[in-house]
């Protein structure tokens, strides 16, 4: 019995320490970043786009817009593809195909992002440059690469959501004379809706947080893009690119950028879990 208690205590300690380190990271980011926001003013920090940290200009609007656009672009590509893939695997494929392909797709999530970036630079960027114009390194390239990178997240969670819909519903619909597709569209998808929305939101979180692949293909220019072929610099790219040499206020400004990302991702995750819980 004493042993039992001992093991419980150890497990509790380990669990608390992982939560604790998460908490410490959060506190650290906020401690480092908040003074800069106070110094520059929240409004100025978020709503101007003049970024010259060594000269005292700390506006990150261009990067916020770039991050949002790259993410939206990734969703435009990734959501329909991912959903179509999930529906076809979960509803229209024999069990054998599903058990083979789902782990394979999940494997995609394990490929290091630098490899995606590399493929983007080698294949995608020249394609865009040659056929669509511009430098190739662009908002479009970033969106396409991210759209592919979020596929495993969207597909895998959507498949789980679709598979969780009881066969009772499918049988009921088929027995009323519905075709498979009618059943999927009118019963299964509505029943799996919250899970699918969660999949999309988590995919979004992954897209907005991705750094390496975006740095490699998006061009990293510091301005608000006016075309999908313009190079862009996202919030994450900016931190990664500048942190190595940043000091003083500049460094604080990068942490403040981190706070913005932190808040965005928190909001996305809370929304996802709120939707999941409501079902």
């Amino acid at each position: 019995m004493k042993r039992e208690v001992f093991i419980e205590r150890v497990l509790l300690f380990l669990a608390l320490s992982s939560i604790g380190s998460l908490l410490l990271i959060t506190i650290f980011i906020f401690l480092e970043g908040v003074p800069l926001i106070a110094h520059a003013g929240l409004k100025k920090f978020l709503l101007t786009s003049h970024w010259a940290p060594t000269k005292g200009h700390f506006g990150i609007l261009a990067m916020i817009i770039s991050s949002i656009l790259v993410t939206l672009g990734a969703m435009v590509l990734g959501v329909p593809l991912g959903l179509a893939c999930a529906i076809s695997l979960a509803e229209f494929s024999p069990e054998r195909v599903k058990t083979l392909l789902k782990p394979t797709l999940e494997l995609l999530a394990g490929i290091p992002s630098v490899v995606y970036g590399f493929l983007g630079v080698i294949w995608l960027v020249p394609l865009i440059r040659d056929y669509l114009g511009g430098p190739g390194l662009s908002l479009l390239a970033g969106s396409v690469i991210l759209g592919i990178m979020i596929l495993p997240t969207i597909i895998s969670i959507s498949i789980d959501a679709l598979s969780a819909v009881p066969d009772l519903y499918r049988d009921g619909s088929i027995a009323l004379g519905a075709t498979n597709w009618q059943t999927v569209r009118r019963v299964v998808l509505p029943a799996a809706r919250s899970g699918i929305i969660t999949a999309v939101i988590l995919g979004m979180g992954r897209a907005i947080g991705e750094t390496m692949a975006v740095i490699m293909v998006a061009g990293n220019a510091l301005k608000i893009p006016t075309s999908v072929l313009d190079p862009v610099r996202t919030l994450t790219s900016n931190i990664a690119l500048e942190l190595a040499y940043a000091t003083g206020r500049h460094r604080e400004a990068l942490f403040a950028t981190g706070i913005v990302l932190f808040v965005i991702i928190m909001i996305l995750n809370f929304t996802a879990s709120a939707i999941t819980r409501r079902r």
């Binding site: 009881p166 009772l168 519903y169 049988d171 009921g172 619909s173 088929i174 027995a175 009323l176 004379g177 519905a178 075709t179 009618q182 009118r186 019963v187 509505p190 029943a191």
Partner: protein
């Protein structure tokens, strides 16, 4: 097969109602689940199928609207004739078959949609009815299962918030909305309490005036209470089929007698 001219010339309301099963065999892979079943289910009657678990009664029921087609590795030989046509003929239209032969499941399975959307599901599937028509269907079908007054003010609430009995009634209403001729019921009361069961049975007796009903049940008392004809199944064979009173009082087969007197099952 040849249909009698009377059956094929009659209006659809009369022609569709009875079911003739000839030499029906069904295999799940190597397992011979239905063995040479022959039966005629009469129009506007309630026929119950009884027998111990695994005897094939649900399987037999599901051959009548071809729900067994959904299971991998099923092979079926023989004929099931509904409305003068073998439903297993090549090229048979499953959608129109399932519209004609509706099914109520063991566990109430309303869709996770509103009460309204559940009832109009079938009509919307098979046509483009106007809002007015949908409202008429809604009232008629919910009225037929004695639910209209109970739910008329909460039609847009989720169907899953209803009680199990109401859910099962709703499933029957949803079925009536596609205007079937035959209702298949697979242990429709097994999830319900005794009072709810009685009320569903009452509903079945009411529905029998317009529909042919075939019910699979574990509950012999239920078969005795509601059905006109009874079939007793054992290990994939239809052992005995006849008027319910006869099956329960003077069974011809020893195995039937042993089952209804509770020697096994």
């Amino acid at each position: 097969m040849t249909t009698s001219p009377a059956a094929s010339d009659n209006g659809p309301a009369f022609a569709c109602l009875e079911i003739i099963i000839r030499n029906l065999n069904l295999y799940y892979g190597d397992f011979h689940a239905l063995i040479d079943v022959n039966a005629e289910f009469q129009a506007r009657t309630i026929t119950s199928l009884i027998g111990p678990s695994g005897c094939g009664k649900s399987t037999l029921l599901r051959t009548l609207n071809r729900m067994n087609d959904l299971i991998n590795g099923v092979r079926i030989t023989g004929e099931v004739i509904i409305a003068g046509e073998n439903i297993y003929r090549p090229g048979a239209n499953l959608t129109s078959l399932r519209k004609k032969v509706g099914m109520v499941f063991q566990r109430p399975n309303p869709f996770p949609l509103s009460i309204y959307e559940n009832v109009v599901y079938g009509p919307k599937l098979h046509g483009r009815p106007s809002k007015q028509e949908l409202n008429e269907i809604l009232e008629r079908c919910l009225d037929a299962v004695y639910m209209w007054e109970e739910v008329r003010h909460r039609l847009h609430e989720p169907a899953l918030e209803l009680t199990e009995e109401q859910q099962q009634r709703l499933c029957i209403a949803r079925l009536l909305a596609v205007e079937p001729d035959i209702l298949l019921m697979d242990e429709p009361c097994s999830a319900l309490d005794p009072l709810a069961t009685l009320r569903i049975e009452e509903l079945m007796r009411e529905l029998k005036k317009n529909y042919t009903i075939i019910i699979v049940t574990h509950n012999m008392q239920q078969a005795a209470r509601v059905s006109d004809d009874t079939g007793f199944m054992l290990l994939g064979e239809l052992i005995e089929f006849g008027p319910t009173a006869q099956i329960f009082t003077r069974p011809a087969d020893k195995r039937t007698e042993d089952y209804i007197t509770g020697k096994y099952g």
